[in-house]
Protein backbone atom coordinates (compact mmCIF):
# COMPACT_ATOMS: atom_id res chain seq x y z
CA UNK A 1 0.00 0.00 0.00
CA UNK A 2 2.79 2.40 -0.87
CA UNK A 3 1.38 5.58 -2.46
CA UNK A 4 2.36 5.90 -6.13
CA UNK A 5 3.88 9.32 -5.55
CA UNK A 6 6.53 7.74 -3.30
CA UNK A 7 7.55 5.41 -6.12
CA UNK A 8 7.67 8.34 -8.49
CA UNK A 9 9.78 10.33 -6.02
CA UNK A 10 12.14 7.41 -5.43
CA UNK A 11 12.59 6.73 -9.14
CA UNK A 12 13.41 10.39 -9.90
CA UNK A 13 16.12 10.50 -7.23
CA UNK A 14 17.49 7.02 -7.98
CA UNK A 15 18.30 8.34 -11.47
CA UNK A 16 19.68 11.61 -10.11
CA UNK A 17 21.96 9.67 -7.77
CA UNK A 18 23.89 8.36 -10.79
CA UNK A 19 23.91 11.75 -12.52
CA UNK A 20 25.13 13.80 -9.58
CA UNK A 21 28.78 14.12 -10.58
CA UNK A 22 30.05 17.07 -8.57
CA UNK A 23 27.62 16.44 -5.72
CA UNK A 24 24.20 17.73 -4.80
CA UNK A 25 24.94 21.37 -5.63
CA UNK A 26 25.72 20.38 -9.20
CA UNK A 27 22.28 18.88 -9.90
CA UNK A 28 20.08 21.74 -8.70
CA UNK A 29 19.02 22.66 -12.28
CA UNK A 30 18.18 19.02 -13.05
CA UNK A 31 16.17 18.64 -9.82
CA UNK A 32 14.36 21.89 -10.67
CA UNK A 33 13.68 20.65 -14.21
CA UNK A 34 12.22 17.39 -12.93
CA UNK A 35 10.17 18.53 -9.93
CA UNK A 36 8.90 21.88 -11.24
CA UNK A 37 8.74 21.55 -15.03
CA UNK A 38 8.18 17.82 -15.56
CA UNK A 39 6.30 16.61 -12.48
CA UNK A 40 4.63 19.91 -11.45
CA UNK A 41 5.14 18.99 -7.80
CA UNK A 42 5.79 22.59 -6.80
CA UNK A 43 6.18 26.15 -8.09
CA UNK A 44 9.39 28.07 -8.73
CA UNK A 45 8.86 29.99 -5.50
CA UNK A 46 8.39 26.78 -3.48
CA UNK A 47 11.61 25.38 -4.91
CA UNK A 48 13.60 28.53 -4.13
CA UNK A 49 12.21 28.66 -0.58
CA UNK A 50 13.09 25.00 0.06
CA UNK A 51 16.62 25.66 -1.15
CA UNK A 52 16.90 28.59 1.28
CA UNK A 53 15.64 26.36 4.12
CA UNK A 54 18.23 23.70 3.24
CA UNK A 55 20.99 26.32 3.51
CA UNK A 56 19.71 27.46 6.90
CA UNK A 57 19.79 23.96 8.43
CA UNK A 58 23.00 22.34 9.65
CA UNK A 59 24.34 19.50 7.52
CA UNK A 60 25.39 18.50 4.02
CA UNK A 61 24.04 20.42 1.03
CA UNK A 62 22.20 17.28 -0.15
CA UNK A 63 19.47 18.20 2.38
CA UNK A 64 17.66 20.06 -0.41
CA UNK A 65 16.71 16.60 -1.70
CA UNK A 66 14.93 15.64 1.52
CA UNK A 67 13.08 18.97 1.51
CA UNK A 68 11.85 18.33 -2.01
CA UNK A 69 10.72 14.87 -0.87
CA UNK A 70 9.00 16.41 2.15
CA UNK A 71 7.11 18.89 -0.03
CA UNK A 72 5.88 16.04 -2.23
CA UNK A 73 5.05 13.37 0.34
CA UNK A 74 5.68 14.60 3.89
CA UNK A 75 8.30 13.25 6.27
CA UNK A 76 8.28 9.80 4.68
CA UNK A 77 8.88 11.48 1.34
CA UNK A 78 11.86 13.35 2.80
CA UNK A 79 13.46 10.15 4.02
CA UNK A 80 12.69 8.25 0.80
CA UNK A 81 14.16 11.00 -1.40
CA UNK A 82 17.35 11.11 0.67
CA UNK A 83 17.79 7.32 0.60
CA UNK A 84 17.15 7.22 -3.14
CA UNK A 85 19.62 10.04 -3.78
CA UNK A 86 22.38 8.53 -1.63
CA UNK A 87 21.87 4.77 -2.01
CA UNK A 88 22.96 3.91 -5.57
CA UNK A 89 25.95 6.27 -5.56
CA UNK A 90 27.07 4.95 -2.17
CA UNK A 91 26.98 1.36 -3.39
CA UNK A 92 28.97 2.36 -6.48
CA UNK A 93 31.48 4.25 -4.33
CA UNK A 94 31.84 1.29 -2.00
CA UNK A 95 32.51 -0.97 -4.96
CA UNK A 96 35.19 1.09 -6.66
CA UNK A 97 36.99 2.54 -3.60
CA UNK A 98 39.49 -0.30 -3.52
CA UNK A 99 40.33 -0.19 -7.23
CA UNK A 100 40.81 3.59 -7.00
CA UNK A 101 43.43 3.22 -4.30
CA UNK A 102 45.32 0.72 -6.47
CA UNK A 103 45.40 3.03 -9.50
CA UNK A 104 46.55 6.04 -7.50
CA UNK A 105 49.04 7.26 -10.10
CA UNK A 106 47.52 5.84 -13.29
CA UNK A 107 47.54 8.40 -16.14
CA UNK A 108 43.87 7.74 -16.97
CA UNK A 109 42.91 8.52 -13.40
CA UNK A 110 44.67 11.87 -13.49
CA UNK A 111 43.11 12.61 -16.90
CA UNK A 112 39.63 11.82 -15.55
CA UNK A 113 40.14 14.23 -12.67
CA UNK A 114 41.32 17.00 -15.00
CA UNK A 115 38.42 16.30 -17.34
CA UNK A 116 35.75 16.39 -14.64
CA UNK A 117 36.94 19.47 -12.73
CA UNK A 118 35.63 22.00 -15.30
CA UNK A 119 32.41 19.99 -15.76
CA UNK A 120 31.73 20.28 -12.04
CA UNK A 121 32.43 24.01 -11.99
CA UNK A 122 30.15 24.55 -14.99
CA UNK A 123 27.37 22.58 -13.31
CA UNK A 124 27.57 24.49 -10.04
CA UNK A 125 27.72 27.84 -11.88
CA UNK A 126 24.58 26.74 -13.71
CA UNK A 127 22.99 25.93 -10.34
CA UNK A 128 23.73 29.44 -9.13
CA UNK A 129 22.29 30.94 -12.31
CA UNK A 130 19.12 28.83 -12.26
CA UNK A 131 18.54 29.53 -8.56
CA UNK A 132 19.03 33.24 -9.08
CA UNK A 133 16.55 33.25 -11.95
CA UNK A 134 14.13 31.23 -9.83
CA UNK A 135 14.50 33.22 -6.61
CA UNK A 136 15.05 36.82 -7.70
CA UNK A 137 12.04 38.80 -8.86
CA UNK A 138 13.02 42.30 -7.81
CA UNK A 139 16.02 44.62 -7.94
CA UNK A 140 16.34 44.28 -4.18
CA UNK A 141 16.59 40.49 -4.52
CA UNK A 142 19.32 40.79 -7.15
CA UNK A 143 21.18 43.19 -4.88
CA UNK A 144 20.97 40.68 -2.01
CA UNK A 145 22.32 37.92 -4.26
CA UNK A 146 25.15 40.18 -5.45
CA UNK A 147 26.09 41.45 -2.00
CA UNK A 148 26.06 37.88 -0.61
CA UNK A 149 28.30 36.75 -3.46
CA UNK A 150 30.84 39.54 -2.95
CA UNK A 151 30.90 39.21 0.86
CA UNK A 152 31.41 35.44 0.74
CA UNK A 153 34.25 35.81 -1.75
CA UNK A 154 35.98 38.77 -0.11
CA UNK A 155 35.40 38.26 3.63
CA UNK A 156 35.14 35.39 6.13
CA UNK A 157 31.66 36.38 7.31
CA UNK A 158 29.57 33.34 8.26
CA UNK A 159 26.93 32.51 5.61
CA UNK A 160 24.25 32.20 8.31
CA UNK A 161 24.57 35.93 9.06
CA UNK A 162 23.93 36.75 5.43
CA UNK A 163 20.86 34.49 5.37
CA UNK A 164 19.65 36.04 8.63
CA UNK A 165 20.05 39.63 7.43
CA UNK A 166 18.25 38.76 4.20
CA UNK A 167 15.43 37.13 6.20
CA UNK A 168 14.97 40.23 8.34
CA UNK A 169 14.94 42.54 5.31
CA UNK A 170 12.42 40.23 3.67
CA UNK A 171 10.18 39.95 6.73
CA UNK A 172 9.87 43.75 6.80
CA UNK A 173 8.81 43.74 3.18
CA UNK A 174 11.94 45.41 1.86
CA UNK A 175 12.82 42.82 -0.81
Amino acid sequence: MIPPVLWELASQFLVLSFLSIGGANAVIPEIHLRVVDTEHWMTDADFAQLFALSQAAPGPNVLIVSLVGWKVAGIVGGVVAMLAMSGPSSILTYGVAHAWERFRDAPWRIAIQRALAPVTVGLILASGYVLTRTADHSWAAYIITGVTLVLTLRTTVHPLWLLAVAAVLGAFGLV
Binding site: V62, S66, G122, L125, T134, A141
Partner: protein, 190 residues
Protein backbone atom coordinates in the same frame (compact mmCIF):
# COMPACT_ATOMS: atom_id res chain seq x y z
CA UNK B 1 56.46 2.70 -2.23
CA UNK B 2 54.94 5.78 -0.68
CA UNK B 3 51.51 4.31 -1.25
CA UNK B 4 52.52 1.08 0.49
CA UNK B 5 53.94 2.99 3.45
CA UNK B 6 50.86 5.11 3.93
CA UNK B 7 48.69 2.00 3.65
CA UNK B 8 50.53 0.34 6.50
CA UNK B 9 50.50 3.55 8.52
CA UNK B 10 46.74 3.73 8.10
CA UNK B 11 46.23 0.09 8.96
CA UNK B 12 48.03 0.58 12.29
CA UNK B 13 45.20 2.76 13.49
CA UNK B 14 42.47 0.68 11.81
CA UNK B 15 42.01 -1.72 14.70
CA UNK B 16 41.22 1.11 17.09
CA UNK B 17 38.39 2.63 15.07
CA UNK B 18 35.12 1.12 16.24
CA UNK B 19 31.69 1.42 14.65
CA UNK B 20 30.61 3.81 17.37
CA UNK B 21 33.70 5.99 16.81
CA UNK B 22 32.76 6.22 13.12
CA UNK B 23 29.11 6.90 13.91
CA UNK B 24 29.74 9.63 16.48
CA UNK B 25 32.64 11.16 14.57
CA UNK B 26 30.46 11.70 11.52
CA UNK B 27 27.49 12.70 13.69
CA UNK B 28 29.58 15.64 14.86
CA UNK B 29 30.59 16.48 11.28
CA UNK B 30 26.96 16.43 10.17
CA UNK B 31 26.05 19.05 12.74
CA UNK B 32 29.04 21.33 12.29
CA UNK B 33 28.33 23.29 9.13
CA UNK B 34 25.55 24.94 7.20
CA UNK B 35 25.02 24.37 3.49
CA UNK B 36 27.86 21.87 3.35
CA UNK B 37 30.22 20.30 5.88
CA UNK B 38 33.31 19.17 3.94
CA UNK B 39 35.79 21.56 5.65
CA UNK B 40 34.64 20.26 9.04
CA UNK B 41 35.02 16.65 7.89
CA UNK B 42 38.63 17.36 6.93
CA UNK B 43 39.35 19.02 10.26
CA UNK B 44 37.86 16.15 12.29
CA UNK B 45 39.39 13.33 10.24
CA UNK B 46 42.86 14.76 9.62
CA UNK B 47 43.59 17.26 12.40
CA UNK B 48 41.54 16.29 15.44
CA UNK B 49 41.23 12.50 15.37
CA UNK B 50 44.02 11.66 12.90
CA UNK B 51 42.09 8.86 11.21
CA UNK B 52 43.84 9.69 7.92
CA UNK B 53 46.83 11.73 6.84
CA UNK B 54 46.26 14.88 4.80
CA UNK B 55 47.36 13.06 1.62
CA UNK B 56 45.05 10.11 2.31
CA UNK B 57 42.15 12.45 2.91
CA UNK B 58 42.80 14.31 -0.35
CA UNK B 59 42.80 10.95 -2.11
CA UNK B 60 39.44 10.03 -0.58
CA UNK B 61 38.10 13.49 -1.44
CA UNK B 62 39.15 13.32 -5.09
CA UNK B 63 37.46 9.94 -5.52
CA UNK B 64 34.32 11.28 -3.81
CA UNK B 65 34.19 14.23 -6.17
CA UNK B 66 34.75 12.17 -9.27
CA UNK B 67 32.05 9.60 -8.49
CA UNK B 68 28.36 10.52 -8.61
CA UNK B 69 26.53 11.13 -5.35
CA UNK B 70 26.74 13.71 -2.56
CA UNK B 71 30.50 14.21 -1.99
CA UNK B 72 30.42 14.08 1.80
CA UNK B 73 28.27 10.92 1.73
CA UNK B 74 30.87 9.29 -0.53
CA UNK B 75 33.62 10.34 1.91
CA UNK B 76 31.77 8.68 4.79
CA UNK B 77 31.21 5.52 2.72
CA UNK B 78 34.91 5.23 1.80
CA UNK B 79 36.23 5.96 5.28
CA UNK B 80 33.68 3.66 6.95
CA UNK B 81 34.61 0.90 4.50
CA UNK B 82 38.31 1.37 5.14
CA UNK B 83 37.99 0.75 8.87
CA UNK B 84 34.98 -1.55 9.25
CA UNK B 85 33.70 -2.70 5.84
CA UNK B 86 29.99 -2.53 5.05
CA UNK B 87 29.01 -1.99 8.69
CA UNK B 88 31.52 0.86 8.92
CA UNK B 89 30.09 2.58 5.85
CA UNK B 90 26.57 2.31 7.22
CA UNK B 91 27.65 3.59 10.65
CA UNK B 92 29.56 6.55 9.20
CA UNK B 93 26.88 7.55 6.70
CA UNK B 94 24.10 7.01 9.23
CA UNK B 95 25.91 9.18 11.76
CA UNK B 96 26.45 11.87 9.14
CA UNK B 97 22.85 12.08 7.94
CA UNK B 98 20.76 11.25 11.02
CA UNK B 99 20.64 14.58 12.85
CA UNK B 100 20.64 16.87 9.80
CA UNK B 101 17.71 14.89 8.40
CA UNK B 102 15.77 15.09 11.68
CA UNK B 103 16.47 18.82 12.02
CA UNK B 104 15.66 19.75 8.44
CA UNK B 105 12.40 17.77 8.48
CA UNK B 106 11.46 19.43 11.79
CA UNK B 107 12.20 22.83 10.21
CA UNK B 108 10.14 21.83 7.18
CA UNK B 109 7.21 20.89 9.40
CA UNK B 110 7.32 24.28 11.12
CA UNK B 111 7.69 25.97 7.72
CA UNK B 112 4.59 24.07 6.54
CA UNK B 113 2.60 25.58 9.41
CA UNK B 114 3.69 29.17 8.84
CA UNK B 115 4.36 29.31 5.09
CA UNK B 116 1.11 31.18 4.43
CA UNK B 117 2.07 34.13 6.61
CA UNK B 118 3.21 37.01 4.39
CA UNK B 119 6.18 38.02 6.54
CA UNK B 120 7.48 34.43 6.58
CA UNK B 121 7.08 34.08 2.83
CA UNK B 122 8.85 37.36 2.23
CA UNK B 123 11.65 36.42 4.63
CA UNK B 124 12.20 33.09 2.86
CA UNK B 125 12.11 34.71 -0.56
CA UNK B 126 14.83 37.09 0.54
CA UNK B 127 16.79 34.21 2.06
CA UNK B 128 16.62 32.34 -1.21
CA UNK B 129 18.14 35.36 -2.95
CA UNK B 130 21.04 35.21 -0.47
CA UNK B 131 21.28 31.41 -0.87
CA UNK B 132 21.69 31.89 -4.63
CA UNK B 133 24.62 34.19 -3.92
CA UNK B 134 26.16 31.53 -1.67
CA UNK B 135 26.06 28.86 -4.36
CA UNK B 136 27.46 31.27 -6.97
CA UNK B 137 30.38 31.97 -4.65
CA UNK B 138 30.95 28.23 -4.18
CA UNK B 139 31.19 27.87 -7.96
CA UNK B 140 33.59 30.81 -8.32
CA UNK B 141 35.86 29.48 -5.57
CA UNK B 142 35.99 26.10 -7.32
CA UNK B 143 36.68 27.86 -10.62
CA UNK B 144 39.94 29.48 -9.45
CA UNK B 145 42.23 26.49 -10.20
CA UNK B 146 40.89 26.12 -13.76
CA UNK B 147 40.98 29.84 -14.48
CA UNK B 148 44.16 29.74 -16.56
CA UNK B 149 43.61 26.63 -18.69
CA UNK B 150 41.87 27.50 -21.94
CA UNK B 151 40.30 24.13 -22.74
CA UNK B 152 38.96 23.77 -19.20
CA UNK B 153 37.35 27.21 -19.44
CA UNK B 154 35.79 26.06 -22.72
CA UNK B 155 34.38 22.88 -21.16
CA UNK B 156 33.07 24.84 -18.18
CA UNK B 157 31.38 27.38 -20.47
CA UNK B 158 29.83 24.65 -22.64
CA UNK B 159 28.34 22.94 -19.58
CA UNK B 160 27.00 26.26 -18.28
CA UNK B 161 25.36 27.20 -21.57
CA UNK B 162 23.80 23.75 -22.00
CA UNK B 163 22.39 23.47 -18.48
CA UNK B 164 21.65 27.06 -17.45
CA UNK B 165 20.68 28.72 -20.73
CA UNK B 166 19.39 25.86 -22.90
CA UNK B 167 18.04 23.88 -19.90
CA UNK B 168 19.20 20.65 -21.56
CA UNK B 169 18.72 17.39 -19.62
CA UNK B 170 21.77 16.60 -17.48
CA UNK B 171 22.13 13.03 -18.76
CA UNK B 172 22.65 14.17 -22.36
CA UNK B 173 24.97 16.98 -21.39
CA UNK B 174 27.18 14.55 -19.46
CA UNK B 175 27.11 11.94 -22.25
CA UNK B 176 28.29 14.49 -24.80
CA UNK B 177 30.69 16.63 -22.78
CA UNK B 178 32.47 14.16 -20.47
CA UNK B 179 34.07 12.09 -23.27
CA UNK B 180 35.16 15.25 -25.10
CA UNK B 181 36.68 16.66 -21.94
CA UNK B 182 38.42 13.37 -21.20
CA UNK B 183 39.80 13.15 -24.75
CA UNK B 184 41.36 16.61 -24.43
CA UNK B 185 42.75 15.87 -20.96
CA UNK B 186 44.23 12.60 -22.25
CA UNK B 187 45.89 14.18 -25.30
CA UNK B 188 47.65 16.88 -23.34
CA UNK B 189 48.50 14.77 -20.26
CA UNK B 190 51.90 14.90 -18.67
Amino acid sequence: MIAAMSDSAASDSVARLSLSALFFGFLKVGLSGFGGVMPFARRMIVEQRRWLTEAEFLDVLSLSQFLPGPNIVNVSVIIGRRFQGVAGSIAATGGLMLMPLVIVLALATIYGQVAQIDAVRNALNAMSAAASGLILSTALKLARPIGSVAWQIGVCAAVFVAIALLRAPLLWVLIVICPVSFAIAWRIRG
